[in-house]
């Protein structure tokens, strides 16, 4: 079903050639200034733009994140999530009275009086929404084609592979394919950005672990720790007293090898050593006054992203895609006890990061969005919820058409009938997405500079969407 086209644009083919030059070689890559080659200016980028993916690993419970707030919806939500008596049980519904402070007040009210609030711990993000700096995309998730509940059960249309499986849905969100996939849409966007950047290697940067999101055909993920690039100390300190031995050591660990696994390991080492002093040198010139919360791993990662963005001119960067993450969202148990801390960290980290982009003068040049394995069931298993599909996500930044909900509010329902309110879940309130990840990604990519003609190379299923119900541009980004 993938609609990946062979490269037909000469610009892209050129980028691929130069990308190879930039990323495969041992010594050349970092200094290679592709921007100097006029043909390669993919986005004609004179300005700076960055996309930041905040991945919530484990499948965040969307219904307690973007919470039904109007009386009618909240009553249904609270009834379904009441869970009933028992040793480990209790209601997992958030009380309406606790949601007042994080109530979302959109510019235009939603039809039917539908209202939402964010989780009570997400005051920072609620504030960004209510001041127009953030938007909510409702019920978004992986789809191959627009899909109805009936089509889901009858198998009439192709479905994303391995629904409800953590690792696979992480991969599908990032790359439209199950585990084992090697190209993500962040990396695909990065491919087009290589030519805008003085250092192709820093186009796609992860400040978390390895993810497929940032891997393109040529763009690859460069990993930076929350403390900056990690040096190999033995190449610098006195462990090897003799400089000649130090350089021999550095030479050995970077050798090209015949064995496939050896060679790939040493390639990573080569990139590490090649980039380290450049990254750390550039970071040393960045001062960032914005305070980030401590004891918050997501904040530590986003702080490093902010510092790297601060170093953009030194590093010669015009277009960058970043990835950060927080784990621990797979709350089958003790959701009431554990989700508040998780969501509090998300809200505080993203809010601080937004403030940092303001400080850098780039708040309308940096767009941050959340993503997660999947949403969860609306039903309770006693003190938590189980794996779902569609979810609500948040987009933050000065270029976001904020204070607005995008997409369609899903009915609060777990019923299995033909009634209209039961058509947007596939059992136990697992949301059937009414917006695809491809649309979500395309809207971000368009803002980033990807043309309509290139979109199919970035998001292989995007050609299956369009029209009023599944618009390719969801509208949450300013032009």
């Amino acid at each position: 079903m993938h609609l990946m086209q062979p490269d037909k644009h000469s610009r892209r083919a050129f980028l691929r050639r130069s990308g190879h030059l930039a990323l495969m070689g041992a010594a050349a890559p970092l200094g290679l200034n592709l921007a100097a080659m006029g043909e390669a200016a993919a986005f004609n980028a004179n300005d700076y733009k960055a996309l930041v993916c905040v991945f919530l690993f484990g499948g965040n419970d969307h219904a307690n994140t973007v919470v039904a707030y109007d009386n009618a919806s909240h009553t249904d939500y609270a009834r379904i999530r009441a869970a009933g008596a028992g040793t480990a049980a209790g209601s997992i519904a958030l009380q309406r009275s606790t949601l007042e402070a994080t109530r979302l007040r959109p510019l235009a009210p939603l039809p039917g009086g539908v209202e939402y609030a964010l989780h009570p711990r997400m005051t920072g993000l609620a504030g960004l929404f209510n001041t127009g700096r953030a938007a909510v995309q409702l019920n978004v998730g992986p789809l191959v084609v627009p899909t109805t509940r009936q089509q889901y059960f009858s198998g009439a249309v192709p479905l994303p592979p391995k629904l409800f499986s953590h690792n696979d849905q992480q991969s599908v969100w990032q790359s439209q394919e199950a585990e084992g996939s090697s190209r993500g849409w962040g990396g695909n966007i990065g491919d087009l950005a290589l030519g805008s950047n003085g250092n192709a290697l820093f186009t796609c940067i992860s400040v978390t672990g390895n993810t497929v999101f940032l891997a393109g055909r040529d763009a690859l993920q460069y990993q930076c720790s929350t403390a900056g690039a990690v040096p190999v100390k033995a190449t610098k300190d006195q462990f090897f007293y003799e400089p000649a031995m130090r350089s021999a050591f550095a030479e050995m660990i970077q050798q090209p090898r015949t064995h496939m696994l050896e060679n790939e390991y040493n390639r990573v080492m080569r990139r590490s050593l090649g980039a380290e002093s450049q990254v750390n040198g550039a970071l040393a010139g960045v001062t960032l006054g914005t305070a980030f919360p401590s004891a918050n791993p997501l904040a530590a990662q986003l702080r490093m992203v902010a510092r790297l963005i601060g170093a953009r001119n030194t590093l010669g960067m015009k277009r960058q895609v970043f990835m950060v993450s927080l784990g621990g969202f797979d709350l089958h148990d003790d959701m009431v006890g554990r989700q508040p801390g998780q969501l509090g960290q998300v809200s505080e980290a993203i809010s601080a990061f937004y403030q940092a982009t303001v400080e850098l003068g780039l708040s309308d040049k940096v767009t941050t969005f959340t993503a997660s394995d999947f949403g969860r069931t609306l039903t309770s298993n006693g003190d938590g919820t189980d794996h779902g599909w569609g979810s609500h996500h948040i987009v933050v930044g000065g270029a976001v058409r904020g204070q607005t909900f995008y997409g369609t509010p899903p009915p609060i329902s777990t019923g299995d009938t033909g009634a209209p309110q039961d058509q947007w879940h596939i059992g136990q309130g697992r949301l059937l997405p009414s917006t695809s990840v491809d649309q979500f990604g395309a809207t971000l990519a368009k803002w980033f500079g990807v043309s309509a003609g290139e979109m199919g190379e970035i998001l292989p299923n995007i050609g299956n969407f369009g029209g009023n119900d599944y618009p390719i541009d969801l509208g949450f980004m300013a032009a």
Partner: protein, 698 residues
């Protein structure tokens, strides 16, 4: 071309064995009556009428190691009894008649003999026809790898696959006993002191203001102690591999259990103990273990409640299928996905299977019955602390919380009202007997021990042993382990010359390799080795029983993007931990320990240092470099020794030369001061352990 012929040959041999088994069963009684074994049949004594059927004993005859002497008839027949118990049982003694060396197997009615270097068979297995199964010398590949170890390199290579790496003592032992003999001794060795008992012996069960009942990482101490020094090294190595399939994460259960360190210790003990029994036994022990119950939420899982809309927790039901037994799609015996008419893999289960199986796992909870508290916390707020022995008990079944609805999953129907324990038995039997389970388990265990992207034929051979150990038993874990370690893919030379075979050593194993090679000991015997992630620049990213989720530190299906592995579609799980940060942080970590050993805060006292005040760090987990000191001044010999111990002899001559030349820059001599020798040896070790040829284990 040769590889293709080999594959065809194997196909034939597999079906050949099946036929032979059928024939044996059909006519065993008949032929056994004609012989009895006191005298060999005349046709066998003569030998000339034999029909050639090399497939019968799966002789390879590749000639890869023809320089070796042929095996003796005795060795061949011992091997045949192990390899083909359905043909040659019970084990028989050797007889000689007129130049024929033979054994008669009363259970199967078959004769197996050697005459003039020819291997002869007669009996039900051959339909009563005299068969020549090949020349004795043809069996050298099949046989010698199991029974003779030619050199220290091969012995070390085996120890790196089967255990935690090589030491002088273990190399000598493998060479003396042979692969199979050494392995059999390990498989029969009782488990050493349990992790639980060791923690108790160290005082960690006492209530002090150190609050050991809160410590997640306590279990790391006895685990590292065993990784580094336990004599039952194969059992512990296997437990580590199993802990990366049956994953729990102690840090993530610490918030919901008292004594999480003990929970982790007991979970490891469970893997180590049942790891040498049967997969079905292990599966049930894991399922009902309190640590797993807390981690994947079987603990406290309750039946549906229609009034409130509550439904059973699906977590364990989903993950026990996806991660512990059958995986997401239907598999062939060789671990490759079965494809439908459109060439697509077919799902092995759907959401309905999960929802139904989830009902089976309702009604379980921690078993505190008869256990009180062991006292109050010695620091405020002085609440009572649960007796930790509940962690040694399987979770208890509470009938009134169990869903009595019918359960339909994987084609099985458990009728409504079936008692919970019976439903559990049926469910676990179903998963255990599913055709996916053998190849699913086999491929991952091969990945853990030997190769990241194993040849499907290798997977099929191991999966076949899972399905039937040769004596009709399914799930015999010792048989699976033998099949992985003694397979020609692991022991044969081909992998050493391939440019794709092998695996990246996982970080835990690199540290264990260092410890085993240099006889690392805890000076204070407290083994307070715990690899924390407090230093981003010197971090291993892997700590026993502390994966970030049930998906382990790395996924068996991980294909690193932007690499040749991605081009080839080759899985390389350990590469999920490889990044520009981690490759450097590993070398920094190594640099920290390789000179004087690991520095431990207040090593003489139990527990972690409470704070930075009054803590003295000193080397406590320390190597013994005396044998290496003795070689200082002869750099070539030093590097050759490190090559064998650490890399199983897999550093190429070019890399050895490179390291020798680099080390000679030190201008060290045999009479240099000891401190110089120590740093010189440490430098040599850092070179070897940072080299790609060490890091990628073949």
């Amino acid at each position: 071309m040769q590889a293709m012929m080999g594959e065809e040959h194997e196909e034939n041999s597999r079906s050949g064995s099946v036929q032979a088994t059928g024939a044996a069963m059909a006519t065993a009684a008949l032929l056994a009556a004609c012989g009895g074994g006191d005298t060999p049949p005349a046709a066998m004594l003569d030998g000339r009428a034999a029909v050639s059927k090399p497939e019968l004993l799966e002789v390879q005859g590749s000639g890869a190691r023809r320089s070796l002497a042929a095996p003796t008839p005795d060795q061949l027949m011992d091997w045949a009894e192990r390899q083909f118990p359905h043909l040659f049982a019970p084990s028989a003694s050797q007889r000689v008649a007129d130049g024929l060396v033979y054994r008669f197997y009363s259970g199967t009615g078959n004769y197996l003999g050697v005459r003039d270097g020819q291997v002869l068979l007669l009996g039900p297995a051959t339909g009563g026809q005299l068969v020549n199964a090949g020349q004795l010398a043809d069996f050298v590949d099949a046989l010698v790898p199991q029974d003779r170890v030619d050199n220290d390199e091969d012995a070390a290579r085996f120890l790196h696959h089967a255990a935690f790496g090589a030491s002088d003592t273990d190399i000598a032992s493998v060479r003396q006993k042979g692969y199979a003999g050494w392995l059999e001794d390990q498989l029969n060795m009782p488990m050493g002191q349990s992790k639980w008992d060791w923690l108790v012996s160290q005082g960690y069960m006492t209530l002090t203001d150190r609050q050991f009942f809160f410590f997640n990482d306590l279990c790391q101490f006895p685990v590292w102690r065993d990784l580094m020094s336990a004599p039952d090294m194969v059992r512990q190595r296997w437990a580590l591999a199993l802990s990366e399939l049956f994953v729990i994460s102690v840090p993530s259960i610490g918030g919901s259990l008292n004594w999480p360190g003990f929970a982790g210790a007991h979970f490891w003990d469970t893997l180590a103990y049942h790891g040498f029994s049967n997969f079905r036994t292990l599966l049930e022990a894991v399922t009902l273990h309190p640590a797993m119950g807390a981690f994947l939420n079987t603990r406290g899982n309750q039946k549906e409640d229609p009034a409130s809309g509550r439904v059973p927790d699906e977590n364990y039901a989903r993950e026990v299928m996806q991660l512990f037994t059958i995986g997401l799609h239907d598999l062939n015996l060789d671990g490759t996905p079965r494809l439908n008419a459109n060439g697509q893999p077919t799902d092995s289960y759907g959401q309905s299977d999960v929802t139904n199986l989830a009902r089976v796992f309702t009604g379980y909870d921690l078993d505190f019955r008869g256990l009180g508290s062991v006292g109050n916390s010695p620091v405020p707020p002085y609440y009572s602390i649960q007796d930790p022995r509940y962690l040694q008990r399987p979770m208890q079944f509470i009938a009134e919380r169990h869903s009595t609805l019918e359960k339909r999953f994987l084609g099985v129907h458990i009728p409504a009202g079936t008692p919970g324990p019976e439903a559990l038995r049926i469910a676990l039997d179903t998963l255990f007997n599913h055709p996916n389970t053998g190849p699913f388990f086999a491929r991952q265990m091969i990945q853990r021990l030997v190769a990241s992207h194993p040849d499907p034929d290798y997977v099929a051979r191991v999966a076949a042993k899972f399905n039937d150990n040769g004596a009709g038993v399914r799930g015999d874990l010792k048989a699976v382990l033998r099949a992985i370690l003694l397979d020609k893919a692991a022991r044969g030379p081909a992998g050493l010359y391939s440019r794709t075979f092998g695996k990246l050593r996982e970080p835990i194993m690199r540290i264990a390799n260092w410890a085993r090679a240099f006889k690392v000991r805890s000076l204070a015997s407290t083994w307070k080795f715990n690899v924390g992630n407090w230093d981003t620049e010197a971090d291993l990213q892997q700590y026993p029983l502390a994966a970030p989720s049930v998906f382990n530190f790395f996924r068996p299906g991980y294909v690193p993007p932007s690499t040749e592995m991605a081009t080839q579609g080759a899985t390389a799980p350990e590469f999920q931990l490889v990044s520009e940060s981690s490759v450097s942080a590993y070398i920094n970590y190594l640099q920290n320990i390789v000179y004087q050993g690991a520095w431990i805060g207040n090593p003489a006292e139990a527990g972690f240092p409470r704070d930075n005040l009054g803590v003295t760090y000193m080397p406590d987990i320390v190597p013994d470099y005396s044998a290496e000191f003795a070689l200082v001044g002869n750099t070539l010999l030093l590097v050759q020794r490190l090559n064998i111990l650490l890399a199983g002899g897999q550093l190429s001559p070019a890399t050895q030369d490179f390291i020798v030349n680099a080390l000679r820059i030190d201008r060290i001599r045999a009479d240099s001061p000891d401190e110089f020798k120590r740093i010189h040896v440490a430098r040599a070790i850092l070179f070897v352990m940072a080299s790609a040829e060490y890091l990628i284990q073949k």
